[in-house]
């Protein structure tokens, strides 16, 4: 069994750990690049979103490398994500690839995991301990990244900071015990802080949008780095680990949605699928918390985010907070986004100095 899965930011770290701990051969596709995008766009439907195209590119690349099992998460809509796996399966089989497709549907998760365990021939105990190790890694990497982006604009030497982060992530990825991960993360967090003393305050923006575009730097054109380069502190509204924690655990999900709906009242009255409610909620709560701007980033043809982008215009007007809305597709060039980021950053800086 040679298993593969598509990328989404740092998700490859826990998944690779999980499969390696279970002694399953795993093929991790290369990080998203133009080649992945090219393959994906060639075979994906024209109006599908960039996430689907990249995911398809990843999977086709791995199948070419000899993977024989593809694992993916399903969903219950109405965002298209829940059908990605099945469509991908049909498209790849139409291209004459032969493989087993395992889709983890939320409604039948225990059964699907059971099927996987049987196919992999592992015990429940080893599965759970591998899962715990993987989860700890994801959490640690996400915390590091979060700190990194808030420190980067303050750092004297950005490249050293980047080096620190890369080292930390690498050590966490290769680590094999829980306490080791904790130590590495703690040390790395401290040195990130030390390298970027905060004697002044820079404009702070919240980045909202769908989970894939937020967490996959190739698909958001490194928006955080661009903003940091213009001395803007950024905060990503959704990290994979925080989202999984607030959504997958039923008791947390309830309070999360209650809070989100309370914030979004008067703007978006119901959960309409995808990340629309999260987007509106994070935008409003951040505006209340004193953020200086909102960056809304989402793929072209994303249905839930189109709704929220229209609603965010109202948020921007009522809360008097500047917003930049970026729609991303495969034709997006870095120059285009750079120009917009530059203009937006200048606006934020001038607003901040004027207020002073």
């Amino acid at each position: 069994m040679k298993i593969t899965f598509p990328h989404m930011g740092g998700v490859y770290i826990p998944l690779k750990t999980l499969f390696e701990e279970l002694q399953i051969e795993v093929i991790v596709p290369p990080f998203n690049n133009d080649e992945m995008k090219g393959t994906g766009c060639k075979y994906a439907p024209e109006y599908s979103c960039l996430p689907f195209k990249l995911i398809l590119g990843n999977v086709l690349h791995s199948l070419e490398q000899g993977a024989d099992t593809v694992i993916m998460l399903g969903g219950s809509g109405p965002c298209r994500f829940g059908y990605f796996g099945h469509l991908l399966d049909l498209i790849a089989k139409d291209l004459d690839y032969r493989f087993t497709f395992i889709c983890l549907e939320p409604s039948t998760l225990p059964r699907d995991i059971g099927r996987f365990k049987k196919a992999a021939g592992c015990s429940t105990r080893s599965f759970i301990s591998a899962l715990r190790l993987g989860w700890a890694k994801l959490e640690a990497v996400d915390t590091l990244e979060q700190r990194y982006w808030s420190c980067l604009p303050y750092a004297h030497d950005g490249s050293r900071l980047k080096c620190m982060l890369r080292q930390g992530v690498e050590q966490i990825t290769t680590s094999r015990n829980l306490s080791g991960i904790k130590n590495i993360a703690g040390e790395c967090l401290d040195s990130l802080e030390d390298l970027s003393p905060r004697s002044y305050s820079l404009p702070r923006v919240i980045i909202v949008g769908d989970i894939y575009t937020l967490n996959e730097p190739y698909s958001n054109q490194d928006i955080e780095e661009l903003l940091a380069g213009r001395s803007i502190e950024t905060c990503r509204s959704i990290y994979t680990s925080t989202w999984v924690k607030s959504i997958l655990l039923p008791w947390k999900r309830k309070t999360y949605y209650k809070r989100a709906k309370a914030y979004a009242r008067g703007y978006l009255e119901d959960c309409i699928g995808g990340f629309a409610l999260d987007t509106v909620y994070h935008a409003i709560s951040s505006a209340d918390k004193g953020f200086d701007g909102i960056v809304h980033i989402f793929p072209v043809t994303c249905m839930p985010e189109i709704v929220s982008s229209q609603i965010l215009q109202k948020v921007s007007g009522k809360k008097r907070i500047p917003i930049m809305s970026l729609t991303i597709d495969e034709h997006m060039e870095k120059t285009g986004i750079e120009t917009r980021v530059e203009a937006f950053a200048e606006l934020l800086h001038s607003k901040k100095t004027r207020v002073k």
Binding site: P45, E46, Y47, S48, C49, F52, G74, S76, G77, P78, C79, R80, G82, Y83, H86, L87, D89, L90, I91, D94, Y267, L268, E269, D270, I272, G273, G274, A276, V300, T301, C302, M303, P304, I306, V307, S308, S309, Q310, I311, Q313, K314, T327
Partner: protein, 324 residues
């Protein structure tokens, strides 16, 4: 009391339900004007530019109605079918919030949730909200809705077996038209959402153009509901969107049936669900070697462009048939 219903989206599929409902409550139903350039322009003005043309048109129709009515009917339509996993496109679910965010000076919106999967108690709560808005008793709303549902299911029964899209539209929207059909050597399945197929403005008269070319047109609405449900089994998993399911299942029915010479998928530019629907139909058509074409519509769609593509497709089908 005047209730405004925009002449787009669910109008083309559920008008008998909405109309029956409001008339049973003693309200007057006002439908917006037929889609025109003016309505489209207003829609483009008020909707966010990433939205697809049906959503832009919806904004235009709301603008067209807003001065003339006491209430605007913009329901949060979640489920009418009782199929558990099925709902509507997220843009449908957020319609009320969208127009509210961008259009000033709206009359009160009737934006109650319609979800037939929910228990009676929860449905009752929504009816209660609606009743206080309209100033009637909740029990009356409940009764009116049930009566309208019966009317709708009668309408759906009338629909199956009807051989002409104009008739389907007539039954659905009480818009009586008579079209003389020329002899029809070619039969085509034209699949797509009702608000694209039956709105002559947005599709640049696609169906009447096909009729003029002597093509018999079949649409998903003409397939009996039972057959559609049976066809659902040929998909790995149901789609999440009611209209999309109808389109895919209808398309698969026509492809499997062997009755049609080709299949046309009519879609709106940038339609999210249709990116999946289109691929599913394409793969199925490829397997069964049924000619397939996709025509996508946007605010710049012109008559000539649609006509050229239709003519080329129909000519190709005629050659194919003559060769056989």
């Amino acid at each position: 009391m005047k209730i405004g219903i925009p002449r787009t989206l669910t109008y083309y599929a559920y008008l008998p339900l909405w109309k029956g409902f409001f008339e049973a409550l003693g309200c007057e139903v006002v439908v917006s004007d037929k889609t025109s350039k003016g309505i489209l322009d207003k829609g483009v003005e008020y909707a966010v530019n990433d939205a697809c043309i049906p959503i832009k048109l919806f904004h235009g129709h709301v603008y067209n109605l807003k001065e003339r009515v006491d209430f605007l009917f913009v329901p949060r339509l979640l489920n009418l079918t009782r199929e558990k996993t099925v709902t509507y496109c997220p843009k449908f679910l957020g319609l009320a919030d969208m127009v509210r965010a961008s259009m000033p000076g709206l009359p009160p919106l009737l934006d109650f949730r319609i979800d037939l999967r929910k228990k009676r108690k929860e449905r009752q709560r929504e009816f209660k909200r609606m009743a206080t808005l309209l100033g009637v008793r909740p029990a009356e709303v409940d009764r009116a809705f049930r009566r309208a549902q019966r009317k709708m299911s009668r309408t759906l029964k009338d629909l199956s077996g009807k051989g002409n899209p104009e008739e389907v539209l007539g039954i659905l929207t009480e818009d009586t038209r008579n079209v003389l059909l020329p002899p029809q050597p070619i039969t085509l399945a034209v699949v797509g959402y009702p608000y694209l197929l039956y709105d002559d403005f947005v599709n640049a008269g696609l169906i009447s153009k096909l009729h003029k070319m002597g093509v018999r047109v079949l649409t998903p609405e003409m397939v009996p509901e039972k057959t559609l449900k049976r066809k659902a089994k040929s998909l790995p998993k149901d789609l999440f969107w009611t209209f999309s399911n109808q389109v895919v299942r209808g398309a698969i029915h026509y492809i499997d049936d062997g009755e049609v010479d080709g299949i046309i998928h009519v879609t709106a530019f940038g339609c999210g669900p249709d990116s999946m629907v289109g691929k599913l139909i394409e793969l199925e058509a490829k397997q069964k070697t049924v000619p397939y074409i996709c025509i996508s519509l946007d605010e710049h769609t012109g008559e000539a462009g649609v006509l050229t593509r239709l003519e080329a497709f129909v000519d190709m089908l005629k050659y194919r048939r003559d060769k056989q």
